[in-house]
């Protein structure tokens, strides 16, 4: 069986889901028997080199660069998986969704108590090299079709492992009740 090609990305996330992925520990050795990594923070490959079988997305979209990355993943990956709360529902970054963007930016860069007054006037950062902030944080499925969703903040390593094995081997994933029981 040829190895499956995997790509991963962290959008508006905290890399916690990637860290949880690494928590599969010694099973990483089993994993690299089954898969090869393409574009991913794990190998620091910045660009896709080929079409991929599986794309894992951590985080939702809070800026236009996230959107372009997500769309790129959708074009390159046969199966796209939303990994963790932020990718699925926006998560912690989406707490700002109830506040108009203008107010958020003003608080952060212009008038907030931690904004130091200096010689130059305060500005909201903007530069062609900087991503533009979206009006709100979007969960991934509102931008592209997501094929699967792995719940958790982060999803437990065992769940990520089981899901990957299921995807790679084409077997059905067994979801024990405890997988969803967070309280």
């Amino acid at each position: 069986m040829p190895k499956k090609i995997i790509a991963t990305a962290s959008l508006a996330g905290c890399f916690g889901c990637h860290m949880s992925f690494l928590d599969i520990d010694e099973r990483l050795l089993d994993l690299i028997e089954l898969v090869e990594f393409d574009k991913s923070p794990f190998n620091d490959l910045k660009e896709f080199s080929r079409a991929c079988d599986i794309g894992l997305i951590e985080g939702g979209c809070c800026n236009d660069e996230n959107v372009h990355t997500l769309i790129n993943f959708r074009q390159r990956c046969r199966v796209l998986v939303a990994v963790g709360e932020c990718a699925i529902m926006g998560g912690l970054p989406s707490l700002r969704n109830v506040i108009p963007l203008q107010e958020c930016l003003a608080e952060a860069y212009l008038h907030g108590p931690t904004v130091a007054g200096g010689a130059t006037p305060n500005v909201i950062p903007h530069d062609p090299d900087l991503p533009k902030i979206l009006d709100r944080v979007y969960p991934c499925h509102e931008i592209v079709k997501m094929d699967y969703f792995l719940p958790g903040c982060p999803p437990r390593a065992d769940l990520i492992w089981d899901a990957l094995v299921a995807l790679v081997t084409g077997q059905e994933l067994k979801w024990p009740y405890a997988t969803f029981k967070f309280d």
Partner: protein
Amino acid sequence: MDKTIPAVIKKYNGDETRLMDILIDIQAELGYLSDATIARIAKTLNIPQVDVEQTVSFYHFFAREPRGRYTVYLNDSVVAQFHGRAAVVRAFEEAAGCAFGQVSPDGCIGLFDTACIGMSDQEPAALINDVVFTSLTPAWAREIVAGLRAGKTVAELQGDRLGDGQNAHPLVHAMVCNHIRRRGSMVFDDYQPGAALRRVVALSSSEVIAQVKAASVRGRGGAGFPTGMKWEFARKAPGDVKYIFCNADEGEPGTFKDRVILTELPQLVFEGMAIAGYAVGARQGILYIRNEYRYLRAYLEQVLSDMRANNLLGPLIVGQAGFNFEIKIQYGAGAYVCGEESALIESAEGKRGEPRDRPPFPVEKGYLQRPTVVNNVETLCSVVKVILNGPEWYNNLGTAESKGTKVLSVSGDCEWPGIYEVVWGFSVNDILKMVGARDVQAVQVGGPSGACIAPKEFNRILAYEDLATGGSLIIIGRQRDLLPEVVLNFARFFRDESCGSCVPCRALTGMAQIVLEKIIAGRGTPTDLDRLSAWSAIMKRNRCGLGQTALNPIVTTLKNFRGLYDQRIKAGDDRFEPAFDLAAAVRDYDRAVAGT
């Protein structure tokens, strides 16, 4: 305020289970329930303030802020929309100088949407300070606002407009019309007050239940549970304090039969309750009636006191030792889910109307944890006629599994909307002919929680074994744009009315509305349709009937009118969401940085 709150609470003996009555009465005096009022109520009743807040926040007729000296609650159901509601809204808004959901700057007029108020045969209709206004027009709306501003009372604005039958009774004095188009042989047939009670005392309680069972009476609220069996469970349940509830909360949009029955034949209903009490061994009955029908209150109280005077209610009914039965009336405060029997009981206990987990069923542990029977208005009417005419007579009416008659509430695009009592087994086609409906696109059977059926199914019959229904038929003409005008309205209705207790219902009613709006806007994908279908399976896990059926407007139209969805769906590659617009999403940012 100083005196009102303690006085009202004293009237209800400081009983916290009467919180609904207490809040209704206090709001009637003070206009709204401020934070200070709520704190005072909690303190006087010696219960946590949050308990009072929970109940207040649950019902949409309870106001936390002033809603104007005169509050217009304009029905926003599908049928009201069909009959020109939009123009009436504009007229009210222009005249009052505020939008719906707001109070006019002078504090005189508040304009608010409300769910179906049970007047679907005479829409657009509104409640203004408990007075019903029907068949509103833009001109009349302007006249009403001008009149109220000029200091006229609501009663003066109603003037001499009076409906037919008992609607013209001095204690009702409403412009509401009955529109009884067809009287059947059961509910709207001749009726001799008291005859059934005299007959029933010749039987033992188990014989009464045996008769109801032999007649195969089934609940008329929609679920069709065998009434005799329900009574028997309650009779055998341990305990000597038991309750009979009559469920007159009919909140299903398009349904108004209970309103007409309670206007014309309240005593028939009350006798049914007394018979149930006799059979079950209950001494207290409670009519739970929706707040929208509060205009009937003086009249219903009068009927009850006349019955007491005639020895048909109270101690020693018809002189029979041991036959003691009293009835009190409990008003709701605007919550569709309270039509569900366990939610209705919770509400009657003064709490949020959230359905209970079952078991235990109300027949074991119901109102105040006592065995409780909850029957529909029409079910109780059936029972009286079974006692009078015998089970054989009843069994000769209807179909194999559906005996007796059904009172239908017909509304929408037809010539003669109103009340039709038919024996079970009529086809939809028969009824459409009867009501003068032509060029019909669809019929909503059983209200939003029922099914939206297409002409190819109009040969189906109304019966528990085929199209089970609580009795509402909304006729949708060819000229209607089904998805935005009907399905979306129903989707909003369920989102608003979900009690929020079960996650699938709370979340998916909202998500379904979003997806539906997206499809209607032409930005839906095939995946959206799959998603809607998949969600309906999840909804079956909800606790109550509302949650289980809340996606039915979408599910049944997906099944019967798939083409209407498909023609709005973007075909082809659906890997990218057509609804997402990056240029629009960065517009706020561009604006924010433009000046810096």
